[in-house]
Point group: none
Chain length 381, copies 2
DNA sequence: TAACGGCCTGAATCATCAC
DNA sequence: AGTGATGATTCAGGCCGTT
């Protein structure tokens, strides 16, 4: 194996043992299936994989201001058919499973385009799903044409090597402590990767179209690996997994085909400063007051469809509709829009403007929203 | 078809038309695959399905020789189980797809145990996934062993019948208005079904193990169906879909095998009060407004031939011609084409781009269009 | 300096009607 | 059925220049 030509060795500190394999903390260039086949079986503690999503995009998409959306149209995301994608998925998952230690676990991230196929194949190959974890994006791209719900999340599958592998690593207490002392849930909230974290080339163009945020990887690594563990990423890209692993005192192995990605990943990982062991702690995402749509009050039964809303002085009435809009004078819109309309203003905070009548007394609907928020306290945003 | 023995007809008001099919607003007793096969093709507008996912649950998951699938403790049985589940899933999805109108959509809810297999099979059968929607539970069951993340969500797949079915129902504006005027995301937050909504038997035991909350179904129904639509639920259970459909002015068809569930669902649906039609009207945006050619504004005298149009910043001027086109630089075309031309763009909405000057102030011509529409509404053709 | 406003961008399976 | 014209549609956040 002519590793010298194809392996990028990175000077990281995690493992200086004389028996450390030569591929540890390196980026191996090449096709992930054949490269994984060349590594020894049962040699990694964890795998994080961000495979192509097979997006199957059609024509161009423009924003309402006519600017063109920079689509993921790279060759590596093109497959001829579902069957071709399935064959590819089966091949890399099989090779990955061979490398996993008996009590290791694997994470795979995807979207609705591919994640169902990935999950079914994982089950077929004997992986045992422990959780599916939803990455909720604070700032997803809108649905510009208004034809679907805003696609605001991606899905990760976390699985052990087999159903009888019970001794996998899960840092339950660390996760609980990081989540205000309540169990870490299967839905995580993080911003997408942007700003200074996003790798750009000399012309200011993003180096990789789908770079993942380090915060997401950090929670993956902190939850299911231990310091000194080895984490394999067969679709290394620009090396988020490697950067986070090094920072958090874990070893990594990356496999990547494209030279430009390898170059960027190398520079990136070289500049990472590993944290002290006692600092290895996950920061909780910032948590604002959860947004509560008015429709939720209707759905929760706090306001009945058909009920009358009125302003504090009883000058205007609007009626609540089942979809969470309110109707006034033949027009229906949100509590804010109708509130603005009746007053002849540009804008209005419907939450503090509208009231319901309860036992003859007016109650501002903002109080009802607080009731919902209290109920939601068990499920923090 | 001996329907009298197997169909529970419910007196609901949604459709009293003499041509309404006999199965409308009924619960059909029996196996969903064969029962769906007995209904006419392309007859329902939407489907909501909450299929079983526990491989031990129900008789559908026996091997072909009728032997019961054993506990899942080795790889071979595991494969057998998945294969049986896949065959069952394929069968009911195929039957369901036959019943769906060309522009109908289907919702399927599941957990990580089954949703990946369901999603992959849906894609294989030609369904086109529009969104995967995450139901985040405010109050999920804790993970008692502390060996995994708290399983705090379930996944719904929303799909059209095929990739080229573009005219499916999606009440974008209603969803947006119901969500404080920002578009509805793919992650929804609802409590699980409990309290008074949860159906209990005489001994206080829950009637159905996985009764879904009505609020969840309400958002499903409000987002992707219209009043008067017909919604099929092939795994009717205790009839949440039927109860919500009736309350929201939609028709339903339920298929269910177990008598006790049918009994509970019947009583439940009979006690539902439908909402008034005017409460159920759907907030529609500009898409639903009648088209008004620009020429109509000229004909109506709202814009004079020869008048100057300008953009909001006064960078470009075009002159109105009597035929409803506008002229710029020796070229005459529609407000949209000229608007695109001057900006060097592919497309442009001329209605929001161009303005007229009135008393020294600019007024967007979209407002003039609204005047025409109001006049049309006052004096309908 | 701080505040504000304009501009840019992100894994996207993103029309419909008349002729 | 195919073609061409119409015209509907965006949220959060980072960055940068101006006030």
């Amino acid at each position: 194996m002519s590793k010298l030509q194809t392996v990028r060795r990175l000077p990281v500190e995690q493992d200086r043992s004389p028996v450390a394999p030569e591929w540890l903390n390196t980026i191996i260039k090449g096709d992930c299936v054949s490269r994984m086949a060349a590594l020894p079986e049962k040699s990694v503690d964890a795998i994080f994989a961000d495979p192509p999503y097979n997006l199957q995009l059609g024509g161009d998409l423009h924003r309402p201001d006519q600017s063109k959306v920079d689509a993921v149209d790279d060759a590596w995301d093109q497959f001829e058919s579902f069957a071709a994608y399935d064959a590819f998925t089966r091949a890399w998952l099989l090779a990955a499973r061979r490398l996993l230690k008996p009590n290791g676990t694997i994470w795979v991230i995807g979207s609705y385009h591919n994640i169902f196929r990935v999950g079914a194949i994982m089950q077929d190959l004997g992986f045992w799903i422990l959780n599916d974890v939803v990455w909720r994006k604070t700032n997803p791209m809108p649905n510009f044409r208004g034809r679907r719900f805003q696609n605001a999340h991606e899905t990760m599958i976390w699985a052990s090597k087999s159903a009888d592998a019970k001794a996998y690593t899960f840092n339950y207490d660390a996760m609980k402590a990081a989540n205000d002392d309540t169990q870490m849930r299967s839905d995580w909230l993080f911003p997408i990767c942007s700003g200074g974290e996003r790798l750009k080339d000399g012309e200011g163009q993003k180096v990789h179209p789908t770079q993942k945020p380090e915060a997401l990887l950090a929670r993956v690594v902190m939850s299911s690996t231990r310091p000194g563990d080895t984490i394999l990423d067969p679709f290394f890209g620009t090396g988020t997994t490697g950067a986070v692993a090094k920072r958090l005192g874990r070893n990594f192995v990356g496999i990547e085909r494209q030279d430009d990605y390898i170059e960027a990943a190398t520079d990136r990982i070289l500049s990472v400063e590993p944290l002290d062991a006692d600092v290895l702690r996950i920061s909780a995402g910032k948590r604002a007051e959860p947004r509560v749509p008015f429709a939720t009050l209707v759905e929760a039964g706090l306001v009945a469809p058909g009920a009358e809303l009125t302003d504090a002085k009883g000058r205007w009435q609007a009626s609540v509709r089942a979809d969470g809009t309110i109707a006034f004078g033949g027009e229906a819109a949100s509590i804010h829009r109708i509130g603005a309309k009746v007053q002849g203003l540009e804008a209005c905070n419907g939450w503090t403007f509208w009231h319901v009548r309860e036992n003859g007394r007016l109650r501002v609907i903002d109080e009802l929203r607080q009731i919902v928020r209290d109920q939601m306290a068990a499920a923090p945003a």
